[in-house]
């Protein structure tokens, strides 16, 4: 058997140490909190699985989960095709490349709370460009009072903020396709759709996997933007898992239930991310 040099594993030790400090130890702490009750002063009382029972039987949790899953599903259904469409239409040569890349990347450079503030003002019916214009045009739009308007605003905001990421990833995937593929397609007289279906889309598989995973995880954990724009309202209509969790942990200081909620939340993200990854890499893993 050919000897294998395993020394390269030593190079990942620093990352392992960082992950241990930034993820594993906090996660262990959350697990410890999830089976105890505390009233502050670093005093804890054993609660067993009581908090898990409370969370799993609460309508509040399942409603927030449904809202978070719906939000992620909607934005993925919009951002992935739109991002690919934008990437397909971006210039590949000349000055236009730099200009387009800078313009496309701009929303990604804006901090999340600033994006929230921009859209919070943008959608206001009294002074906001979007809100005031829609109302002047006779559309009954008010994201503060109407749950559908609130959802539409949040979805529009997320699409505006994050489609750029999908577009840039898809663009990077597209420019890496060798010209020989396109030449062969031209010789065969392939239509534009055939080129996309049989050359571009398969070659985009890996970057789209990354795009879907990033966008799913990010949207499922979204907090800052909806908190700034709607604060979870009107009512609870835009209270996602993360917003409810922060209200419970910081607002109510219910650390035990919040920890149990966090663990379940984490397990759902882990599972769905694994399913996405497994499905999208199924063919190449065989």
């Amino acid at each position: 058997m050919k000897p294998t040099n395993q020394k390269a594993w030593l190079l990942v030790l620093p990352v392992l140490g960082l992950v241990a400090l930034s993820a594993v130890i906090p996660l262990m702490t959350v697990v410890n909190y999830s089976v105890q009750d505390t009233f502050g002063n670093n005093q804890f009382f054993w609660a067993g699985t009581a908090w898990y029972e409370q969370v799993l039987h609460s309508e509040r949790f399942w409603s927030a989960l449904a809202r978070s899953l719906s939000f992620s599903a909607i934005i993925l259904a919009i951002e992935i095709p739109l991002g690919v469409f934008i990437a397909l239409n971006m210039p590949r040569k000349g000055v236009g490349v730099v200009v387009t890349l800078v313009l496309i990347a701009l929303p990604l450079l804006i901090p999340w709370n600033v994006v929230g503030t921009i859209w919070q003002v943008f959608g206001r019916v009294d002074i906001g460009l979007l809100g005031a214009t829609l109302n002047a045009a006779g559309v009954d739009y008010n994201y503060v009072q109407d749950p559908i308007d609130a959802w539409a605003t949040l979805i529009l905001m997320d699409v505006w903020h994050w489609t750029s990421l999908v577009a840039l990833l898809a663009y990077a995937g597209l420019v890496s396709i060798p010209d020989a593929y396109y030449q062969a397609a031209r010789i065969d007289g392939a239509s534009q759709w055939s080129v996309f279906r049989y050359i571009q889309l398969p070659r985009l598989g890996r970057v789209l996997t990354i795009a879907v995973l990033l966008r799913f995880m990010d949207s499922f954990m979204i907090y800052t933007e909806p908190f700034v724009v709607t604060g979870g309202g009107p009512g609870n209509s835009t209270t996602f898992l993360s917003i409810d969790l922060v209200q419970m942990a910081v607002g109510q200081f219910d650390l035990g239930p919040a920890a149990a909620w966090s663990i379940i939340y984490f397990l759902i993200i882990l599972t769905l991310s694994w399913i996405f990854y497994a499905v999208m890499t199924r063919d190449e893993s065989k």
């Binding site: 262990m28 379940i264 497994a278 893993s285």
Partner: protein, 95 residues
């Protein structure tokens, strides 16, 4: 520096020690009997031993959550643990 801020309890400490032992056990298993080549099981995806362990741990967590959420009040939690062991055996055999 103490670890009081981590609010350790004996059951959770034993749980994490158990997980660490399983991870070390997988290393020892690989060292003694290498053979973690990918295989395609009932899920239709290629998995190695580590993947099967991941699926086992993840699935066990959900089995326990399901047990807590669905089992009659007062049902002992080890009922979920027994189901998890059966599930682990199935995963390592068929996935």
């Amino acid at each position: 520096m103490t670890l009081a801020w981590m609010a350790w309890t004996t059951p959770t400490a034993l749980f994490f020690i158990g997980v660490a032992c399983v991870l070390c056990g997988m290393g020892v298993w690989h060292w003694m009997r290498p053979g973690g080549e990918p295989r395609v099981g009932v899920l239709g995806i290629a998995t190695q031993r580590g993947d099967r362990l991941f699926l086992t741990l993840l699935g066990s967590a959900f089995i326990h959550l399901g047990w807590i959420g669905l089992a009659p009040e007062g049902a002992p939690l080890w009922g979920g643990s027994i189901l998890s062991i059966v599930y682990a055996a199935l995963v390592f055999r068929f996935v």
